[in-house]
Symmetry: C2
Subunit: 307 residues, 2 copies
């Protein structure tokens, strides 16, 4: 197995999305630039949602005007919650987008006002347009490890949804634990199972995890996923991305803490930790509040990759 991982920094999207403070497009572009300077090659730049509902994501197209989507060095993606968002993303020049489905019926219903089956049918339509527009798409499967309403989510349900997505042409499947309910043994088992099934269907498919550290298991879950062969991880600079309604509940796992852990494990990320820490400090100043990430507070033990 490869000892190299890809980290997608989602701070411009999942990180900033729920922040009380709205950062203007030029500041969000600067965040993207600082991430790039630190060697982050994959960035989720925002979400194409209506600014009335999510003001923190407003004017994403203005940011996209400054990004080179034709380059091979940087991989940009953006969240599109619906067909309208998909169209906006294509117009803005994106050649990769991310859709969302939720593995539990209750939460999918609350988020999208439809059943999981109907969401999947909707994706058939997206898949068609996507092919025509030359835009690849990944899918985030929310509540893959548990649902705040239903509790346990059967692994078979996650595997069934993931397989359907691959059949529809998704190039990336992210198992997400947005509410921070996942436990490491569960992550290790489910990631192993999903990966086995999907990679047999399409070798080279991007299979990753999107983890939150709400209950202090985020990094244990990342280690468990790595053990299960996962080599694609979402993370957010500074660990931002918590829920605004529970101010103490931490957000995404922090890019810098994840890079530090991988450095210490001899796993290559291609990312420069010093650059990330500089970016994180800058972001902290922009948001005017302390970050959940810890490696900037303690001294890094593994500033660079151990070999």
């Amino acid at each position: 197995m490869s000892k190299r991982v890809e980290i997608v920094d989602v701070s411009p999207r999942d990180g900033l999305q729920n922040e009380c403070k709205v950062l203007p497009p030029e500041t969000r572009l600067e965040l993207i630039r600082l991430l790039e300077q630190a060697g982050v090659r994959s960035i989720e730049v925002g979400s194409f949602v209506h600014p009335k509902f999510v003001p923190t994501m407003a004017n994403l197209a203005d940011i996209c005007r400054h990004l080179d989507f034709s380059g091979t060095q940087q991989h940009y993606t953006a969240l599109v919650p619906n067909l309208k968002g998909f169209e906006l993303a294509v117009t803005a020049g994106l050649n990769h987008v991310r859709l969302v489905i939720v593995a539990s019926e209750t939460l999918n219903g609350k988020n999208f006002k439809c059943s999981v089956e109907d969401s999947l049918k909707g994706f058939e339509q997206v898949a068609g347009i996507s092919k025509e527009a030359g835009v690849a798409f990944g899918v985030i499967i929310g509540a893959s490890f548990g649902c705040p309403y239903e509790g346990h989510v059967p692994p078979a349900q996650v595997i069934r949804i993931a397989s359907r997505l691959v059949e529809l042409g998704a190039d990336e499947v992210m198992l997400a634990d947005t509410t921070g309910m996942a436990m490491p043994d569960q992550v290790e088992t489910l990631c192993g199972e999903v990966r086995d099934v999907l990679v047999k269907m399409r070798p080279g498919l991007r299979v990753g995890v999107h983890l939150h550290n709400t209950r202090n298991t985020g990094y244990a879950n990342a280690y468990a996923a790595y053990r299960a062969g996962i080599r694609l991880f979402d993370a957010s600079l500074g660990g931002i991305g918590g829920c605004p309604f529970s101010p103490n509940a931490l957000g995404n796992i922090a890019t810098e803490d994840l890079v530090h852990m991988f450095n210490g494990m001899g796993v290559e990320t291609g990312i420069d930790l010093a650059g990330l820490l500089k970016a994180s400090k800058w972001l902290e100043q922009q948001l005017g509040k302390p970050m959940p990430a810890m490696i900037g507070k303690a001294e890094p033990v593994y500033p660079t990759l151990t070999t």
Copy 2:
């Protein structure tokens, strides 16, 4: 392998030891009682050190007067840094104590003004007195996973020290990562190796880990140790126990977050999470500052053991 673990709450010792606020003996006794009420069966009650150097640990003997060391339900231990401390512990009625050695020469020298070999020789003397006094002893091996001065600590050195300790009659060996440098893959490998060697020497020996979450790998390391067959974990209520000189550096892994993780993994701790959270809230009030533990801020997903 058993799916039951033993958690030793070290908040009355490692937790409070470095706090700026000195809690009087009656408050520390109340902490011990609240832990007992939550079903914590193993508690490190304090350290027999000179109050001039560590005022937070003063009057430990006053606490011990209220503890029943002859009972079989509760396991109490206390840290003894030297022979004088050992004598004080025996006088106070303890029938189990914990000694400390550091796996790196530099840090052992700084802490104890002697070489690792001399520390081990000193333990021979303790072992003799210990047997005579009918007091069992465990040993914490500091810097087992890395040293702030030397960096890498050879696993062979840790195994050599641990083996010598078992030969000397230690009933418990704790691999400690006080400075939070350990990485989960390293923990999994070293714990597996140490456990294999020691359990062959003496079946039933208590082999455990003492982990800190300084760099956000504490719970990943706990999961890794569990995977390697470790069933004995130090943890501190609220996650207190950070270094007073780096206020942002977090302390021990939190007992409540560890119990929650084990609950979710179907691993029995015998501890009541609701009781722990009550105790943690009380401790937060006593110390007058927020705790690093997270499960009291987010809602527990696994309030009880999953089966």
